[in-house]
């Protein structure tokens, strides 16, 4: 079965692992990156359809990373996550092309449901969730 590839970019080890686990149990193939270089590498080699980016990364601004990844893979679908609900940053994220902005801590199955909604491959069986 072809699975949808999702890249998670977050420098928080357990956040990343938890998201990976949640996505894997819902039929996604999840990849993890902690910083700019790792994210670039995975986008180039794995060509994920969706990327989930934490706004506060150690070496790059999450919004900046999103626009760089969009240049490499223009059809990549980006979702931003953050610990802060700053209205100005949310607005900026949406203007610059993020599909959605989730504020931590959020319901992970809300995220999974949204990923299924925007996935191109229906093979992610909606019954599994």
């Amino acid at each position: 079965m072809i699975k949808n590839k999702v890249l998670i970019v977050d420098d928080q080890h357990w956040v990343k692992l938890m998201l990976k686990e949640a996505l894997a149990t819902s039929g996604f193939e999840a990849y993890m990156a902690s910083n700019f270089m790792e994210a670039m590498e995975i986008v180039k080699t794995q060509q994920p359809e969706i990327v989930i980016i934490d706004v506060n990364l150690p070496d790059v601004d999450g919004l900046e990373l999103m626009s760089i990844l969009k240049r490499i893979k223009p059809d990549i679908k980006a979702i931003l996550i953050s610990g802060s609900s700053n209205a100005a940053i949310t607005q900026r994220a949406i203007t610059e092309g993020a599909l959605k902005y989730f504020v931590k801590p959020f319901d992970i199955f809300d995220l999974v449901a949204y990923l299924i909604e925007i996935s191109s491959i229906d093979a992610v069986s909606k019954g599994e969730v």
Binding site: V15, M18, G83, S84, A88, K104, P105
Partner: protein, 318 residues
């Protein structure tokens, strides 16, 4: 500060006497449009003076030699009240640590969001693995609800903090970048001249406006330019440029200073990180928070031995 001038060379020589060796060999132009040059005294003299009251007054004294193409034309002696200087320094530090205290508390609260999120997520995954009649499913549900309660408390705290800064923001009307930068240069003119650093300001458009408190923008720019000045030696140049880019107003501050080590570059915005002996390590941290609280962003590019460029971006509209 008081300035005294000696127009007669003889009088000046008498004043300076054997101290010639303390003056720099090279000189720099006093003003771009005047053929006058300054050689600075390489030392500071502290003089103490007992006034009519019991109090002892302390001054820093700086001698400079002013020359034209023919030689000495005069001397510049400046007195700096040490007490005023100390007081101003103290006030600045107190204010900075007060602001920092609040900002740090808020950033700790923010940092809690990550572990809260991973715990909540794992609990959701665990909860899902139990059947409906399993007591443990209910326990996981309770734990999730309790976590949400913690998160609400945290949000209450953060929104109180935010309400204070938004109150400041709400009163804002646009502030002219040009006016603030000109004020900034006035603020630093003396230290720029003292260090022999030239500067260049470029406004691509004159009417650039950003929506941030004037004092806040000033604080941001002071923190950045202060670092630049400290990093630069005589003859180096500081350039400040403001321009529009899409929906942003950008301010670029470029120095020809010592630069930042590559390994330090991703740490400069961390709280308590400083390469300066007397630095609190909070200057750039607070700078970043102020910029981001106003919907902007800050980034730094640097090359060791060449210099550092800081980029500020603010939304054109709010």
């Amino acid at each position: 500060m008081a300035n005294g001038r000696w127009q007669s060379e003889e009088e000046g020589e008498k004043m300076i006497g054997d101290y010639h060796k303390y003056f720099t060999k090279s000189s720099y132009p006093l003003k771009q449009d005047l053929p006058l040059y300054v050689r600075e005294g390489g030392h500071k003299v502290v003089i103490q003076y007992q006034g009519q009251q019991e109090k002892v007054f302390e001054y820093n004294v700086n001698f400079s030699i002013i020359e034209d193409d023919q030689g000495h034309v005069g001397y510049l002696v400046s007195f700096e009240d040490v007490e005023n200087l100390k007081e101003a320094e103290m006030n600045k530090m107190q204010l900075e640590s007060l602001v920092a205290e609040k900002e740090i508390a808020a950033s700790y609260a923010h940092e809690l969001k990550n572990p809260l999120f991973s715990i909540r997520g794992f609990l959701q995954i665990i909860k899902q693995s139990f059947s409906d009649d399993d007591k443990r499913k209910e326990y996981a549900e309770i734990a999730i609800n309790e976590l949400d309660r913690m998160n609400n408390l945290l949000n209450d705290y953060l929104s109180r903090f935010r309400a204070q800064s938004e109150y400041v923001n709400k009163r804002q009307i646009g502030v002219s970048v040009k006016n603030v930068v000109e004020e900034l240069i006035t603020f630093f003119r003396h230290s720029l001249e003292l260090k022999g650093i030239s500067y260049e300001i470029e406004f691509v458009e004159n009417d650039l406006v950003v929506f941030i408190g004037k004092e806040q923008l000033m604080q941001v720019l002071i923190n950045i330019v202060q670092n630049s000045i400290e990093a630069m030696d005589k003859g180096a140049r500081l350039s400040i440029k403001a321009f529009r880019e899409d929906s942003w107003v950008c301010i670029e501050i470029k120095d020809e200073g010592v630069g930042i080590k590559k390994s330090d570059l991703d740490k400069i915005f961390n709280p308590f990180f400083s390469t300066k002996e007397s630095g609190t390590g909070l200057g750039l941290y607070i700078t970043k928070r102020i910029v981001e609280n106003n919907g902007g962003s800050i980034s730094v590019k640097s090359e060791e031995g060449k210099g550092t460029t800081t980029y500020l971006k603010f939304p054109r509209q709010i």
